[in-house]
Each structure stands twice: as structure tokens, then as C-alpha cells.
């Protein structure tokens, strides 16, 4: 038999009324909320206290930000559709939609790379001033989470294609939606509120 037989009986229990994997991912999301919350809270404090911040924020490119928001929202759609496919037991379809989601993540990262290159060349670097420090740090930590999500999705798709470990499709989807929600807040904070 496969890895499932070396899995403890404990993993299959659900005394809390939820499958273990889903419970675990929500706990992970909870701890991520406070990581991003701490960072964004610090940013908001600076932003509200210094009008000079707003002047700097005018230099971010709202169109690129909006495009990236569109990309992530669409990848969230494919992420939930892959969950629906996995729910109906269709591993191949789930894998396909996971690849679309990964594609969305990669587009996001490539666009961001171009965006940052332009901004750095224009002189707005990580150390330029506090606004840009927060900008690159927050978007950078977010981008790292996008990349991690893409990588994990690759592994999940690989096994889902062979109809194995299908519950993981939902789990990585949950994580992906959370990453999307963080961006939903990052977008107005970094691009719009001028």
C-alpha cells in the first residue's frame, strides 16, 4: 500500500468535526494573519502619521497593481474550481485547474518583477525612504508566499493527477485564497490610498 498505511490512525480522526488537514490549514492562516497584520499595522501607523508618505505612494503604478489584483482574483477562481473538481473526484481536471492557478501566480510574480525593476531604475529602492521600505517588504513577503504557494501546488497537482491525496487540493486552495485576501488589502494600501 502507499504512504496512507504509514499514516497514523490519529490523522483520520475528526473529534472537532472537521478533517484534520483543513483544521491545520486554518490554524496556519490564523498565524499568517498576525504576521501580515503586524506588518501592515505598522505601515498604517506610519501612513496615517506622515503626509510625506502619501506623496511617495503616488509613485506606485496603480494600473500594474490593478492588473495584478485581477490576476490573483482570477487565480482564486481557478483555485476554487479545482476544489470543486477534486470534490467530484476528477483528479485530472483538478490538476489542470491547479496548473492554471500556478500560471496566475507566475504571471503575478513576473509582472511584479518588471514593476520593481522599473521602480528601482527610477530611484525608488528599498532604502529610499520609509514608505518604499514598507512597500518592498510587504509586497516582498507577500510575493514569497505566492511563490511558496505555486511550488506546493505543483506537488499537489502531481499527486492529484493520479487521483491520490485529493483532499490536499482544497487545502492548498485555502492557502491560496488567503494569499489573495492579503493582496486585496495590500492593493489599496500601497497603490490607491493617495
Amino acid at each position: 500500500m502507499s504512504a496512507a498505511s504509514s499514516r497514523p490512525i490519529a490523522t483520520g480522526r475528526s473529534a472537532a468535526g472537521m478533517p484534520t488537514g483543513r483544521l491545520a490549514v486554518w490554524w496556519i492562516i490564523a498565524s499568517e494573519i498576525v504576521i501580515f497584520g503586524g506588518l501592515l499595522g505598522s505601515y498604517i501607523m506610519h501612513r496615517l502619521a506622515h503626509d510625506a508618505f502619501a506623496e511617495q505612494a503616488a509613485h506606485t503604478n496603480t494600473w500594474i497593481g490593478a492588473f495584478n489584483t485581477f490576476v490573483l482574483l482570477t487565480s482564486s477562481l481557478s483555485a476554487v474550481l479545482t476544489h470543486k473538481a477534486a470534490d467530484h473526484g476528477d483528479g485530472k481536471k483538478a490538476a489542470r485547474f491547479l496548473y492554471y492557478t500556478m500560471g496566475g501566480g507566475l504571471v503575478f510574480l513576473v509582472v511584479k518583477a518588471f514593476e520593481w525593476t522599473t521602480e528601482i531604475q527610477a530611484g525608488y529602492t528599498l532604502a529610499s525612504n520609509t514608505f518604499w521600505s514598507f512597500y518592498y517588504t510587504a509586497a516582498g513577503i507577500h510575493a514569497a508566499h505566492v511563490l511558496a504557494g505555486v511550488i506546493i501546488m505543483g506537488f499537489v497537482a502531481h499527486t492529484a493527477k493520479r487521483q491520490l491525496e485529493m483532499q490536499r487540493v482544497e487545502l492548498i486552495g485555502l492557502y491560496w485564497h488567503f494569499v489573495d485576501v492579503v493582496w486585496i488589502f495590500l492593493f489599496p494600501l500601497l497603490y490607491i490610498a493617495k
Binding site: H50, F53, S76, L77
Partner: protein, 129 residues
């Protein structure tokens, strides 16, 4: 496979996911909201910008969390967990902001221009503190 059976069992026990909302429609709503939030600043009224930017962000986040993450179907515990974490963040903000947002004390000041510059200003400026 033992795991698969346990997984199906958990599903049957709660009858979840037999109902999937129209995800494409929700995506459409999200995109419309995105357009509104981008358009908002063009009206150049600050209150409207704030509402379209952050109010819509909250609505979008709610739509994703409810419809894509199925938080209403997961145990109530999850909703409480997420709300508690958000509450802690508010607490952090409330306890820290009075200090970080303060621009002067009895012996110091933090001028506004500082946040926008790369280096401290020339010597003449500093004497004014």
C-alpha cells in the same frame, strides 16, 4: 485507501460541498468591485476614495472568505479564530499607535518631512530642533 475512506466519511457526516455556489458569478462581482476601487480616486473626493478603496477591499475579502474559502461551512470555531486574530491586530494597533504616530514629546519632535527623505537634512535645518 484508509485515508480516503476517512476523508469521505468526514464529508458525508457534514454534507458540505454538495452545494457549490456559482463561482464564476462571484468572480465577476469581484472584478466589478475592482474596477470601482480603481475608478474611485479619479473623483478626487477623499472620503469617496477611502470608501471605494478600503470599503470595497473589505467586501471583496468577505466574498472570497465566505464563498471561496467556505468559512460558513467550516466549524464555527474557524470564524471565531479568524475574528480573534483580527481583534488581536486591532489591539496591537491600539497599543502601539499612540507612540508611533506621535509627532512630538516634551523633548523631541519627529518632523513630517522625515518620512519622505533618504537622508537627514543639511546642518541648517537640524538647528531648528
Amino acid at each position: 485507501m484508509a485515508d480516503h475512506a476517512a476523508h469521505d466519511h468526514a464529508h458525508e457526516a457534514h454534507g458540505e460541498h454538495t452545494h457549490h455556489p456559482d463561482y464564476v458569478k462571484i468572480w465577476g462581482v469581484l472584478l466589478v468591485l475592482l474596477v470601482i476601487s480603481v475608478a474611485g480616486p479619479f473623483l478626487e473626493i477623499q472620503v469617496i476614495t477611502l470608501i471605494t478603496a478600503f470599503g470595497i477591499a473589505i467586501v471583496k475579502a468577505y466574498l472570497v472568505v465566505k464563498n471561496f474559502m467556505h468559512i460558513n461551512v467550516a466549524a464555527k470555531l474557524v470564524t471565531y479564530l479568524v475574528l480573534t486574530m483580527l481583534l488581536f491586530m486591532l489591539l496591537f494597533f491600539a497599543g502601539t499607535a499612540p507612540d508611533v504616530m506621535e509627532s512630538h514629546g516634551s523633548n523631541w519632535e519627529k518632523p513630517d518631512w522625515i518620512a519622505g527623505t533618504a537622508h537627514p537634512p543639511a546642518a541648517g535645518h537640524e538647528e531648528s530642533h
